[in-house]
Every structure is written in structure tokens, then in C-alpha cells.
């Protein structure tokens, strides 16, 4: 976007004349126009515009899944399926389920059972708050006691971490931010974040599966809250650790 186009966007109604003047100046006094250009922030239009996730978020327990309820619901579905199967109603190519709940929850070879996956989902989502920082280049989700989830703004997928204990990729699925983690022995975790258009409510779906099993999904809802303003400006240094200075009203 050119300097003039940016001005039009910033002042759509009353400043066309100003834009015209700026155009004249740009033509007649290139050196002055250059100085003015340099003062304006340059927008990188190659970076896609994403939903605004930034802010402090607290869990809305009323609207979030309770892992035990969700587990019970999933169990009921299984029991119903088993009953249907027993009565001879076809269930397609689903896994065979024995009668009378016998072996109902026995995992297939090398798969973790649903109860353990559900408990793990709860363990991973034990935090009730999170803070999200977002700019034009990066989004960073911080939860206490957890490694931050960091992703760029490109559609991806991008590999964000890889090590002996697992690998992580992230990317954007339309307006949703997705992190996928592959842990040893086929444990597979997906976090999917979405936010309402007014950026006041956030939804995080965690799916956990083991060696290709049907995933256990846990939906968590968050509401934005106004955290007290940080009194300090902090910067990480290497020799002095985190160096903070008190915020003044000006900054």
C-alpha cells in the first residue's frame, strides 16, 4: 500500500484534500516526501490478518466441558452402540464391542484407554487462566507451568519444536489456530483455538488420541478479563536477567 493509500485508509472521510496535497508534495518535492514516507509505519501486507486472540483469559467453567461428564457421555454412546450391535443394527465399520459391557473399555493393542486419555486431557487443561500475546508476526499463548505455545501468522504448518520427547507443529485453519503435538509411543495431542469476532470469548478444544484411537475431545471456554495493568516494563537480558523499570503514565 502506498503512502497515499495508507492515508486514505486512515482518514477516509475528511482528508482527501490532505492526500491530494501530499501527492503534490510527493511529486514536486521528492526529498520531503521521502522523509514523510519514512516516518510512517510500513505495513507488511504479505502477512495474513488473523483474529485477535490477545488478552487475558479465564476459564468459564459453566460453558466448559467437565472431563468426567464428557467421559460418561462417551461411555454412554459406546454402551448404546453396543446395545444396537447386540440387537443386530449395523454400525458400519466401527470397532466391535462385546455384550454386557464386557471389555467395553479395553483398548485395542497399544492404545491407551479412553479413561486415561480423558484424565490426561484434564491434566493438560488444568490451568484456569491464560495470557495471549499477539502481533503481526507471532502469537504466543502462555499458561502457568506450561511451555508457551508460539506460532507465526503464516498458514503453515510450521514445525515449532522437535526433540527426543516429541514434536510440535502449528498452523492456521481459516480462523482457527491449531497446535499438534506428537509424543512418543503414538500419543497425539491437538489444541484448536478459536475466538469470537468481538474477541471476548475464546474456545479451546483439546483432542487426545493414542495410536490412531478415536480421540477424546475436551472443549474449554474462556472469557476475556481485564488484568490489572502491569506496573513494570520488563526486558530479558542475558547478564542481568529480567530487567524491569517502573511504568510511567507516558509509556
Amino acid at each position: 500500500m502506498t503512502h497515499i493509500a495508507r492515508q486514505k485508509k486512515l482518514y477516509p472521510a475528511g482528508c482527501r484534500l490532505l492526500s491530494f496535497c501530499a501527492l503534490s508534495l510527493a511529486i514536486n518535492l521528492p526529498s520531503i516526501a521521502q522523509t514523510t514516507d519514512d516516518d510512517l509505519p510500513v505495513l507488511d501486507l504479505d502477512s495474513p490478518i488473523r483474529m485477535n486472540f490477545s488478552g487475558n483469559w479465564e476459564k468459564d467453567f459453566a460453558r466448559s466441558d467437565n472431563w468426567e461428564d464428557e467421559l460418561t457421555r462417551r461411555m454412554q454412546i459406546r454402551q448404546e452402540n453396543a446395545a444396537l450391535q447386540a440387537s443386530g443394527v449395523g454400525l458400519g465399520n466401527g470397532p466391535s464391542i462385546s455384550l454386557g459391557n464386557i471389555n467395553l473399555n479395553r483398548p485395542r493393542r497399544r492404545q491407551a484407554n479412553l479413561v486415561n486419555l480423558a484424565r490426561l486431557a484434564e491434566y493438560i487443561n488444568r490451568n484456569s487462566t491464560m495470557e495471549i500475546f499477539q502481533d503481526r508476526n507471532e502469537i504466543r499463548i502462555e499458561r502457568r507451568g506450561e511451555a508457551p505455545l508460539v506460532c507465526g501468522m503464516e498458514t503453515g504448518p510450521n514445525e515449532t519444536f522437535s526433540g527426543q520427547h516429541g514434536a510440535e507443529i502449528c498452523g492456521w485453519d481459516r480462523n482457527q489456530l491449531v497446535f499438534e503435538m506428537a509424543l512418543p509411543d503414538g500419543l497425539y495431542i491437538i489444541h484448536r483455538f478459536s475466538v469470537t469476532s468481538d474477541s471476548q470469548m475464546l474456545r479451546m478444544i483439546t483432542s487426545i488420541s493414542s495410536n490412531g484411537s478415536v480421540p477424546f475431545n475436551l472443549v474449554q471456554s474462556y472469557n476475556k478479563y481485564q488484568a490489572p495493568p502491569d506496573e513494570y516494563n520488563c526486558i530479558q537480558t542475558i547478564t542481568r536477567g529480567r530487567v524491569c523499570s517502573q511504568r510511567t503514565p507516558l509509556n
Binding site: 484424565r119 490426561l120 512418543p184 503414538g186
Partner: protein, 388 residues
């Protein structure tokens, strides 16, 4: 949706093949054999002051950096690229100090770009650099275009290279005098190699190098007056066709200009010294963290899961342990990344200062240097027009 499916399948395949199956160390692609390390090297120092013809002036240009494809693809690589760019200003100063410490050479200066007044110019490219290993390619050419060095150098650090004092606290600040550069052997080896090449040259060759650099500088100032004194063959080697008279007034002016020029590049060199001093403490600490991180990764690889022996339990405790191991390894990695950002934060003012220190000129240090040379050329042209 299609994209996410693609990467879902991608990760599933990756999981199936590698992590999911057994979490064994992935088979690395066959890499070129590592450049052998220089080992332990003693600096070849001159006991007494060498003869004048041996005292060549050396310009060490700010190094280039090479980012490997693998590095460029890594998420957050820009943090480490910034560190590598800062290193390119820092490492040449260690070489410059080593050359001076050897007492084998004339002036040794760090320069932002090629300088025609130097007898010997050293260029380097940092191929890889972390707390554990430094690999660089070094080329040294004299003013006649003779190649002195074209060689890869590599060195590895040891735990002892990062004594407890490098993990200093505000109560025990960094003491540069007690610290030895972990990769000092590389710089010592470069100096020793240069001394070895110099020993193969005759006195005439060395005097010739000095004369050529004088004429190259003169020709750079005023090609129309001095270009005819030099000849360049098809291999780029310079030789003297004619020497100006000893009392040539133009040559005298060239020498005056050269003196001013050297004063300027001495000042530039001092700016690099300031940067070096500012950067040394955070750089050493960052390298220590980098060393620790690599050690941790190596240990982690050595102690990787062996699922043939390790219980294949899928109980809740095993799952949480598996997740926690992943979580902590990622936290460790992210902290290292944050510290690297901290390093960049800490030295940013010093880099900025380096680029702002020459008053009346603008742009980066390199641009200012080019401007300075242009001014000298104009000054010389003006003075040449004034009758003696």
C-alpha cells in the same frame, strides 16, 4: 481445511514412522564429514621486535555469516540469525587481538569493508557457531593478490572452557582478564599459518607487498595519476611497472592522505573495540547457555526411551510422565530461545552506537566508511588542483 488435513496426515505419518513407533532417534541424513578441529595450539609469538619489512599492516574485515538451509527453516531462526550477525562484528576483533598479541605484524585493525591501504587482508565466513563448536572459512590475500590462506578452521569447546565464573551473578561480575576465549585455538592457528606463509616469502616479496599497497591506495585516490604504475595479470596478481620518484609531490600528498585515512580506520577500530567490550560478557554467558543446551540434547539423545525395555504401559501415570517430559524439554528450549532474545536485547544499544558514532556521516558503519573514502578522494582531487 485441506491444509490442516495435509499437515495432519504429515504428522501422522511422521508419528507412525518415528516418534509414535518407538521414539528412537531419527536416522540423520548423511552429513559431510566435520571439519577437523585445530586441536591445542600455541600462539607463535615474536620474542623481539621483527624487522620493518616483516611488519605488514593487516585489515580483518567484518566476517560474513552462512546460515544453513536447516537453520533457515527452524521456527524462530531470526533470533539466532541476529546473534550470528552480531558475532560477525565480534569474532574478527578476537582475531585482531590475537595477531597483535603475537607481535609478528604491524597494525591490525577490524574494518567494515575492504580497504585498499592494507598490506594483508583477512576475510572470514562463520559457517557454524554455537557454544560447543565454531567453524569458519578464512581467506587471506596480500596487496599483490597473493593468496596466503584459504582454509576452513574448526574448534570445539570443553566444559572447562566455561568456568563457574562465566555463570556470574551481580555479586561477582564478569572479569574479562580471567576469561580465555573457548575457541582461541582457531585464532592462534590462523596467526601461525600466516607466519608460516610469511616465512616462505623473500625480503623483496615482502617489500613489494608494502609498495603495492601504497600504490593501490594511491590509485584508489587518483586512478588517472597512479593506475599506470601498476599491472594486473590475468590471475588478478598486481605488480609494479614503475615507481614514482621518492620526492614526487603527488605521492607525498598520497602519504599524507594515507596517514589521515589510517587515523580514521584506527577510530573505526576503536568502535569495534567498544562493541567487543560491550558484547563480551553477554556473549560468553549466551555461549555457556548454548553449550549447556547442546549438552542437554546430547544427554537426552543418549538416554532416549527404549520401548523394548521400557514398560509399554498406557496408564495415566505413564501418559502424564510422557507429557511432562515433553513439556519440560520444550520449556527448556523456549527458555534458551528467550535468553537468546535477551542477548540481542542487551547488545542492541552497542550495535546502534557503532553505527551512530561517526558524526556528520550517516548510515551503517560500512556506509560511513565508503562515504569517508569518497571524501578523501574529493579532498585529494581538490588539493591536487592547488599549485604547490
Amino acid at each position: 481445511m485441506a491444509l490442516i488435513n495435509i499437515f495432519r496426515y504429515g504428522i501422522l505419518i511422521a508419528s507412525a514412522i518415528g516418534l509414535a513407533a518407538c521414539a528412537q532417534t531419527p536416522q540423520p541424513e548423511p552429513a559431510p564429514p566435520p571439519i577437523p578441529t585445530v586441536g591445542e595450539v600455541d600462539l607463535d609469538t615474536a620474542e623481539s621486535d621483527p624487522q620493518d619489512y616483516l611488519l605488514l599492516d593487516i585489515g580483518v574485515e567484518v566476517f560474513e555469516i552462512e546460515i544453513s538451509e536447516q537453520e533457515a527453516l527452524e521456527f524462530g531462526e531470526w533470533i539466532f540469525t541476529e546473534i550470528r550477525e552480531s558475532e560477525a562484528h565480534y569474532l574478527p576483533y578476537i582475531l585482531r587481538n590475537t595477531l597483535l598479541a603475537s607481535n609478528q605484524w604491524g597494525a591490525a585493525r577490524v574494518l567494515p569493508t575492504h580497504d585498499p591501504s592494507m598490506d594483508l587482508t583477512i576475510q572470514g565466513t562463520v559457517l557454524s557457531s554455537d557454544g560447543q563448536r565454531l567453524t569458519m572459512w578464512v581467506e587471506a590475500l596480500d596487496s599483490t593478490g597473493r593468496v596466503w590462506l584459504q582454509k576452513d578452521y574448526s574448534d570445539e569447546s570443553l566444559t572447562d572452557d566455561y568456568p563457574v565464573s562465566t555463570r556470574y551473578t551481580p555479586g561477582s561480575p564478569f572479569d574479562a582478564s580471567k576469561f580465555t576465549e573457548p575457541f582461541q585455538d582457531i585464532y592462534d592457528q590462523i596467526n601461525n599459518d600466516l607466519v608460516q606463509v610469511r616465512q616462505t616469502l623473500s625480503i623483496e616479496d615482502l617489500i613489494d607487498i608494502k609498495r603495492v599497497s601504497q600504490l593501490v591506495y594511491a590509485s584508489d585516490l587518483s586512478p588517472e595519476s597512479f593506475a599506470h604504475n601498476l599491472d594486473k595479470d590475468e590471475n588478478g596478481r598486481m605488480s609494479i611497472l614503475t615507481l614514482p620518484a621518492e620526492d614526487d609531490p603527488q605521492m607525498r600528498r598520497v602519504e599524507e592522505m594515507r596517514l589521515r585515512h589510517h587515523l580514521f580506520i584506527d577510530t573505526v577500530d576503536q568502535y569495534y573495540e567498544s562493541l567487543y567490550e560491550e558484547m563480551q560478557a553477554p556473549y560468553v554467558v549466551w555461549r555457556k547457555y548454548s553449550y549447556d543446551q547442546i549438552e542437554e540434547e546430547t544427554n537426552s539423545a543418549d538416554n532416549a526411551y527404549d520401548f523394548s525395555n521400557y514398560g509399554r504401559s498406557r496408564g495415566f501415570l505413564t501418559l502424564t510422565q510422557r507429557y511432562d517430559r515433553y513439556r519440560w524439554s520444550k520449556i527448556f528450549e523456549m527458555e534458551y530461545r528467550d535468553l537468546s532474545v535477551g542477548f540481542n536485547n542487551e547488545i542492541a544499544p552497542a550495535i546502534l552506537q557503532l553505527n551512530e558514532q561517526v558524526h556528520g556521516l550517516s548510515g551503517t558503519m560500512e556506509e560511513q566508511y565508503i562515504q569517508w573514502r569518497r571524501i578523501l578522494r574529493q579532498l585529494f582531487a581538490l588539493e591536487a588542483e592547488i599549485p604547490n
